[in-house]
């Protein structure tokens, strides 16, 4: 029993869990190390929005493939995974953002993703609590929402692997053929030199207000603000939960290290939300929290070999729930030498080595 496993995964977040399951399915022996609670890191503090993105071809390929995997998994997931096929509604405030709607529409349609353009009236009908007037929106109906901590635990239960509740101090200490650093934003601690930086986010959850929001709503100014390379930003980004609750986001901050609420940015974030949904202020807030995204300079995750027997599965920024399933598949394919379903090159960590 004390045989050294083929693969040891350090980090029991959703990425580590997905990697564990795919490696196991590929016939490898796997063990997981988690210092605290499974799914208790960024996996417990993100939004759980599974979203197809169009920032780059590589990002599209990864999010699109992964979101297909999520839809396949949906029927198997336990009820506590709170799978909600609500779709994403990108909200355009003005004609300039409406142009972005049409650009996105042709991008997605050219790649086989079903989308629907809504005019101002259709948008108001779809989401009665949005302010009027707004210009319109783009509905991506295949996107969904999940509850990530339960999915992470469920993936590990499916894998049936040993979980060591232990903090790893050095990857070299871990007995295994391959050691995968899946420590999320903490990954650089044990893999110094990787280009991963924490990016803080704030969220607010409300009491149950069923029907108040029907789709995951994101303002189209989001792309501009979220991708501004430095500086703090907020965006209107609200999510209906299966429980009837509303999850309100989002903010992005570099250089913030403490998990405490930053009241100034929280206030900004909520005021932004209220600009789009004036009624949101009257809902009951029950909790606020923060989390850290593992960001990379080119906004793509690091999946694959790094140094010696040390591999990486980190750097998923604000998309790690979406891309966790695809990450697991790519990692297992790379380890076993199978041909991955999408090109793995854009995500190989070696692209970042000096």
């Amino acid at each position: 029993m004390s045989a050294v496993p083929d693969v040891a995964i350090v980090g029991g977040g959703i990425v580590g869990a997905a990697c564990a399951l795919e490696c196991k399915r590929a016939g490898l022996s796997v063990e997981v190390y988690e210092q605290s609670t499974v799914g208790g890191g960024a996996t417990a503090s993100g939004m759980g929005h599974v979203v197809v993105m169009d920032d780059s071809e590589a990002q599209f390929a990864l999010t699109h493939y992964s979101s297909t995997l999520w839809r396949e998994l949906a029927a198997e997931l336990p009820a506590a995974a709170e799978y909600l096929p609500c779709g994403t509604l990108w909200v355009a405030a003005d004609e300039e953002e409406m142009a972005e709607v049409h650009r996105k529409q042709s991008f997605y349609e050219a790649r086989g993703v079903p989308v629907e353009v809504l005019d101002a009236q259709q948008l108001a009908d779809a989401e009665p609590h949005l302010r009027t007037p707004l210009a319109g929106g783009l509905l991506v109906s295949g996107d969904c929402v999940v509850y990530p901590p339960v999915v992470a635990q469920w993936l590990l239960d499916q894998a049936g692997v040993t979980i060591h509740h232990q903090e790893i101090r050095a990857l070299a200490d871990v007995p295994a053929g391959i050691v995968v650093n899946a420590m999320g934003a903490a990954a650089p601690r044990l893999s110094p030199g990787i280009p991963v930086a924490p990016r803080k986010g704030h969220l607010v959850i409300t009491d149950r207000h069923p029907g108040f929001v029907r789709h995951q709503l994101i303002e189209l100014g989001y792309l501009k603000s979220a991708h501004s390379a430095s500086g703090d930003s907020v965006a209107f980004n609200v999510q209906p939960r299966k429980t009837g609750q509303i999850l309100i986001g989002s903010s992005r901050q570099y250089g913030a290290e403490h998990k405490e609420i930053d009241r100034e940015i929280l206030t900004r974030m909520l005021r932004r939300a209220a600009e789009y949904m004036p009624g949101i202020g009257a809902l009951t807030a029950i909790r606020t929290w923060t989390g850290f995204r593992a960001s990379t300079p080119d906004k793509l995750p690091l999946i694959g070999p790094w140094a010696g027997r040390e591999w990486l599965a980190t750097g998923h920024e604000g998309l790690g729930i979406t891309t966790s399933l695809a990450t697991g598949r790519l990692l297992a394919d790379l380890i076993t030498g199978r041909t991955p379903p999408i090109p793995a090159e854009p995500f190989l960590p070696l692209r970042c080595s000096p």
Binding site: T37, V38, G39, G40, A44, A80, P149, V150, Q153, V204, T206, D207, T243, I248, I261, R263, E264, L266, T267, L270, R271, A274, I280, G281, A282, L283, T284, A285, I286, R287, T288, W289
Partner: protein
Amino acid sequence: MTGFDLIVAGAGPAGIAAACRAAETGAKVLVLDNNPAAGGQIWRNDIPALWAQRLSNVEVRGGCSVIDDSILAHGVPIVLATGARELFLPFPGWTLPGVTGVGGLQALVKSGFEVRGKRVVLAGTGPLLLAVASLLRKRGASVTCIAEQAPRSALLRFATGLWRYPLKIAQGIELGGSLLGVPYFTDCWVEEAYGRDRVERVRLSGFEQDCDLLAIGYGLVPNTELATLLGCTLQDGFVTVDAMQKTWREGVWAAGELTGIGGVERSLVEGEIAGLAAIGELTEARKLFSRRAAWHRFASHLTGAFALRPELRALPRPDTIVCRCEDIRYNDLTRWTSAREAKLQTRCGMGLCQGRICGAANHFLFGWQDTSVRPPASAAPVSDLMES
């Protein structure tokens, strides 16, 4: 908030005492409370005339929650007097309508809830059962029995020590008189409550009893959420203070049930000290130390006598609800090893009350400690978080 010399959070006895003492030295004092009216749990709708009068120089704002540490930004000293809530321990049937906390029932009755002719069983532990029984009888209820979980021996020890506390003994005699004829059982607790749409009957240790209301009182849990958000230090669940009731957080004092459970007199004297100390009247505050010491002795006497017995841990069945907000049952929890794990995997403690009820129950049942508090200190409109 500017223009005040002192802000008091909580308008129960401790907060009122703090505010009055400070105001009487000429300080401008603001009291904030999330209830519409001042009084706290015990003085709801009937603040004793003397205190009500003294409160006239204080500005009291009801319906006003302090949600996070932005209150400190005003640079005004703060006395925290946020009190305690009731401890609920799950047993089969505890969520039936008609089952309440003793403190909750007391508050209901004080605000006009009619109990005339109703058969009430009181169960749990401690002197509050007697006080509430007395109130219920005065309002025409038929208290069919009082079930005290503490062993008889502990109670006798408690009673023989009471002579040292003049006020309590007077109360004891008064209570004893008015309760004449109410069966009082020790070593006795509720094992199950039955009823179709509401409670109709309860099973206690060894016997059953019909009733219209079942009031349970297993003790109190301090409301430390705001203190935690302000950065105060806690020990064994209570806020740590020095002799002047000052917390480890600069500019913040604490008094009353936040620092320990022990009745209204203990809260009053702590409140007086905190109010005086917070505005720099240390000599006056010191004069109250010996009175406080007496009530602290009483409090430890109380805690010793009414410790919860381990049998209560065995009451929930697999399908007994533990977290009412999220409908989480006992057997949903047994796989997990910490409050956080149970919370993330089952949603236990994630609802509207944020584990304020089930958190203490899980601490008793499983030994879990949920130390994580996030703003708002209690549920509040989203717009409250938009104010900078």
